[in-house]
């Protein structure tokens, strides 16, 4: 029980538009363990991004409860959720979403300094992380528009990690990248997970999903299957076959 970091009870999300209601998530019960690399898969419109953003406190559920540890975050106000996010969550987005008017280093520090006021410590940590993801000193003072997609996403990962979050929420992190950059980013995520960082990723890409240790399949707002793969090992053919077979079973 103590390993569960994130839990939802009867989680529902409904969108209303022009008198029409769309039930995107339906009474979802879900538990995510600390340090896990959980992947949510599903076809377009299945509600996987909605689930990710509800669990991360970026959006509020229509019904149901969400617990982060023993705190019920679904009751939080918007500002309390913001404070919760800065302390507990890191985000990696498909569109990367760096602030274009800030340098690479400032993008990382803007997030880091929200929690730790010690500039020297935060700067040191940001630089270490940037080096870890392969960005050299010459890149730190560049603006996002001067980076390649892969480089920019690596900055996004550093920004997500700067506050040592409990969970990194990744929404299609390789969706906007070419295959080489995608592999770099996935390797990076695997590497940080191996160091104990929990990751919850949404993807519809098998190559990305294969990196996860636990795969959840979402269909019409309901989790209809789960596949446990264990820790990722490069070149593990059985893992790929198991995932493919699971997805086929789910109607992928």
């Amino acid at each position: 029980m103590s390993d569960i970091i994130l839990k939802s009870k009867m989680l529902s999300k409904t969108f209303s538009s022009g008198g029409f209601q769309q039930h995107v998530l339906k009474n979802l019960n879900l538990e995510i363990n600390k340090g896990d690399y959980t992947v949510i898969m599903g076809s377009s419109g299945s509600g996987k991004s909605t689930l990710l953003y509800a669990l991360s406190g970026m959006d509020k559920p229509t019904l149901g409860e969400i617990y982060f540890g023993d705190q019920e975050i679904s009751k939080y106000s918007n500002d309390k959720l913001a404070i919760f996010r800065r302390k507990n969550c890191g985000f990696v987005f498909q569109q990367i979403y760096l602030i274009n008017t800030m340098s690479v280093l400032d993008n990382c520090l803007a997030s880091g300094l929200l929690i730790n006021k010690n500039k020297r410590e935060v700067t040191k940590k940001a630089k270490e992380l940037l080096i870890q993801v392969g960005l050299t000193e010459s890149d730190w003072h560049k603006f996002p528009s001067q980076l390649s997609g892969g480089e920019a996403q690596r900055v996004g990962i550093v920004r997500a990690l700067i506050n040592s979050p409990n969970v990194v929420f990744a929404d299609e992190p390789t969706g906007a990248l070419n295959s080489a950059s995608s592999k770099d980013v996935l390797d990076l995520l695997t590497e940080i997970n191996n160091k104990g960082q929990g990751i919850l990723m949404v993807t519809h890409d098998i190559k990305s999903a294969r990196r996860g240790s636990r795969i959840l399949y979402l269909k019409d707002g309901v989790i209809c299957g789960e596949c446990l793969l264990g820790k990722y090992v490069s070149g593990d053919k059985q893992r790929h076959e198991k995932l493919t077979s699971f997805l086929t079973e789910m109607g992928w």
Binding site: R85, L98, T101, L105, D106, A110
Partner: protein, 784 residues
């Protein structure tokens, strides 16, 4: 053309709030500009029209029988250009006192019997009572608009320490006799009141004559008065010059339209500032709409729209707003004429009714639209250089950020503070615009505040500017009295700070009638009006008003010919003075100096200065008790000044309040426009910041902090420039009236408070407008 219309209307619909705010700013500019133009182009015309309707005399002379000579009558009937003349018997009081506003006025007063029909300046009543009594009086309209009197009020006139009570039965309109600023006031009495008053006075010296003439050309009125003084009065009996009250149409027009002229100048100047603000806002709006709609511009260009068509749609968009604003402003300005007219009438004593004036409305309309037509294509010219593909990529090549201002790792201060600094430095052009706008409106506010402080709160500098020597009591002595021993005795009375001779009279320079101040004790004056050189000391010296010096091309060290009576003497100019009380036509000379022209000239006026704690009214009573036989009039100057300044005070208070309110309003609108544009432009960044954990309040504070220093700098800059140059500006505005140097007090504390107020308003507005950040959802940003 239809396509351009569609694009323009679509742009307006897309930015309804911003378009509406701009519309408001343009409407305010149009209201002020139209009001200013209406006043400056029509007030004097309305004065002429009203004078024609009233069949007003163009020249008037009033005097008691003792001063009257047959040749005056001849002069008034036979002077070249006179088309009608009129002689009436009147009651003439050389100095009558009555309450006016918060103080008291003391002027020559003329009482005309209304029972006698007359052609020139017939009795015209603006308001009247229906029932009649034996104590009725018709007083000039200015006593209602500026003096605070109403119909049926009791009106008490004090003459030689005796009160005479009347009931106000009506308010008259009279061009030459109906103002408190022309040195004499005319009252009308029905037959019964007239006879009662005459009997009560029971004094033959109060019997007088009023001569009035109408000319074929009003421009001749000044010349007629000057020639009258020069060729008729001054050739006659000694002492007459100062006992005949004279007034010309030109002088009356200048003085009675002065406030409106000054008011119109201030309103036009302020409206031009607001027009400038509108143009800067348009430039900003064009820039932001190009930035925000760059992809749309790219799409339009790729569809085949030319740059000219796209620019035309932007020009049309702002033309539509300017057109609507200008029309609305011009229409509203006509509603504003009524309160403006009421405000002016407190000083002018004129009822100004203004109908539609195509000239000023068209001028206002053209000026605003022309400015917009010029500024909009100029601001939108970069569209020509935008290639479709670059525009479709949202100007990727034009969005290269050159410098990372205030790096977070090296800049001291809290995260929010440093992020705000980054915003300030990253938007220099926008901030310069805000600084210019806030500076401009603050400059105008400083003008309003300084005027208010120096006219309403502490009027010393204003009185100095007008050129009045503010003694406690101005004493006139009976002709032939030796003033030297009288002054010595007055000086010995309790509470007297100083007393000295200070005469007023008329002399002629270059055939122009000029006011002369005569004294040997000029060093004792409280108000030193000399701004270059010094007052005269010797009998061959003179100081002249700076505007006269400019007109006659004279300077200190030059000589000037002065004529008094039949003698003309050349004097050395030792100083240049300022002062607007006689439209800048005054000189100062010593008694010995005057005696060079008229050997028999004597002092007949004394200025008395009392300690602050002395009751002036009691002191005057005591003076009259002790020296009543030697005194003809004693005027409480402080009371008189407060009465006359009262009208100015209320006008200035209203103008200053309007300027301050508009300033606050403009600051609010500008911040609303700019912050809203920023919220739209940086919506994505706000979403990202929210996602990574910034609270709405942090982002609001960040946004507010990025504007507050800019507004503060603008406020300080505008206030500083205003404080430094305000006296120069006022002296330029009033130069034509004889004001050469102004020393208005700059109320630093007030200005500081105004800056603080603007910053507080800006803080509140910024927080309120950026409260919209709460609606920016990090989640929606991700799923868009």
């Amino acid at each position: 053309m239809n396509k351009i219309w569609m694009l323009s209307l679509s742009n307006i619909r897309k930015s309804k709030g911003a378009s509406f705010s701009l519309l408001i700013v343009i409407t305010i500019a149009a209201i002020l500009l139209s009001l200013g133009l209406l006043t400056s182009l029509n007030f004097k015309k309305a004065f002429d029209n009203r004078a024609a309707e009233l069949n007003s005399a163009h020249v008037a002379a009033a005097m008691n029988y003792g001063s009257y000579q047959e040749q005056f009558d001849t002069y008034f009937s036979t002077y070249t250009g006179v088309i009608d003349t009129q002689k009436e018997e009147i009651i003439f009081l050389s100095s009558a006192k009555y309450a006016y506003g918060s103080g008291e006025l003391a002027f020559p007063a003329f009482f005309i019997n209304t029972s006698k029909a007359k052609e020139l300046s017939p009795l015209t009543l603006a308001e009247k009572l229906d029932e009649v009594s034996g104590r009725d009086i018709y007083v000039p309209y200015i006593l209602q608009s500026g003096g605070g009197y109403e119909l049926s009020d009791e009106f008490i006139i004090n003459y030689r320490d005796k009160d005479y009570s009347f009931r106000i039965a009506g308010f008259t309109e009279d061009i030459l006799l109906g103002s408190t600023n022309l040195g004499g006031v005319g009252f009308h009495l029905p037959e019964e009141s007239y006879i009662n008053f005459q009997n009560e006075l029971n004094d033959d010296t109060t019997n007088g004559i009023l001569l009035q003439s109408r000319l074929d050309n009003t421009n001749k009125s000044d010349e007629m008065i000057t020639n009258f003084q020069k060729n008729v009065i001054l050739k006659g009996q000694e002492g007459i010059a100062s006992s005949v009250w004279l007034c010309s149409y030109s002088a009356a027009k200048n003085i009675r339209t002065q406030t409106a002229t000054i008011g119109a100048t201030i309103i036009i100047a302020f409206s031009l500032i607001i027009v400038l603000v509108s143009l800067l806002v348009i430039k900003f709006r064009v820039n932001t709409s190009i930035e925000d709609g760059m992809a749309d511009i790219g799409a339009l260009k790729s569809l085949g729209y030319t740059s000219h068509q796209i620019i035309s749609s932007i020009v049309l968009q702002f033309m539509l707003i300017a057109f609507t604003g200008a029309i609305a402003g011009i229409l509203v300005s006509y509603l504003g004429v009524v309160p403006l007219s009421n405000m002016f009438s407190a000083q002018t004593g004129l009822i100004w009714k203004q109908g539609l004036d195509l000239q000023s409305s068209a001028l206002c309309f053209i000026l605003i639209l022309f400015s917009v037509v010029i500024i909009t294509p100029f601001s939108a010219r970069r569209i020509k250089k935008l290639h479709p593909i670059i525009a479709l990529r949202c100007g990727a090549t034009t969005h290269t950020f050159k410098k990372n201002h205030c790096p977070l790792d090296r800049t001291k201060g809290s995260l929010n503070f440093v992020l705000s600094l980054k915003n300030i430095l990253a938007n220099v052009k926008q901030n310069i615009m805000i600084v210019i706008i806030v500076s401009a409106v603050c400059f105008a506010s400083v003008f309003g505040l300084v005027m208010y402080y120096n006219i309403v709160i502490n009027d010393k500098a204003f009185i100095d500017m007008v050129g009045v020597e503010m003694c406690s009591i101005a004493l006139s002595t009976v002709e032939g009295v030796d003033t030297a021993p009288l002054i010595e005795n007055i000086k010995k009375m309790d509470g007297v700070r100083k007393a000295f001779n200070y005469n007023y009279g008329s002399v002629t320079i270059n055939d122009e009638s000029v006011q002369a101040y005569i004294s040997d004790d000029l060093a004792l004056l409280d108000n030193n009006q000399i701004y270059e050189g010094r007052y005269p000391k010797y009998n061959n010296e003179i100081s002249i008003n700076g505007s006269m010096a400019k007109k006659y091309e004279k300077s200190v060290g030059d000589t000037i010919l002065v004529k008094f009576g039949s003698n003309e003497i050349e004097y050395l100019i030792t100083g240049l003075s300022q002062g607007m009380s006689f439209m800048g036509r005054d000189i100062t000379i010593t008694l010995d100096g005057v005696k060079q022209m008229k050997e028999s000239y004597q002092y007949n006026s004394i200025n008395i200065y009392l300690e602050d704690d002395i009751d002036v009214k009691n002191f005057i009573s005591e003076l009259n008790q002790r020296y009543g036989t030697k005194i003809t009039a004693s005027i409480n100057m402080k009371d008189m000044a407060s009465s006359q300044l009262g009208a100015y005070s209320s006008i200035v208070a209203i103008i200053a309040s309007i300027i301050l309110i508009i300033t606050g309003f403009v600051v609010v609108l500008i911040l609303y426009l700019v912050i809203k544009a920023v919220l739209i432009r940086f919506r994505k960044d706000f979403g990202i910041q929210k996602a990574i954990g910034f609270t709405t309040f942090q982002l609001m504070t960040q946004t507010t902090l990025s504007f507050l220093p800019v507004v503060f700098i603008g406020a300080i800059l505008g206030s500083l420039i205003g404080s430094i140059y305000i006296n120069t500006l006022i002296s330029i505005l009033f130069k034509e009236m004889g004001v050469m140097k102004v020393s208005f007090i700059v109320p630093t504390l007030w200005i500081g408070l105004m800056c603080f107020g603007i910053c507080v308003i800006s803080y509140v507005v910024s927080m309120l407008v950026s409260w919209r950040i709460r609606k920016i959802s990090a989640y929606l940003l991700m799923v868009e």
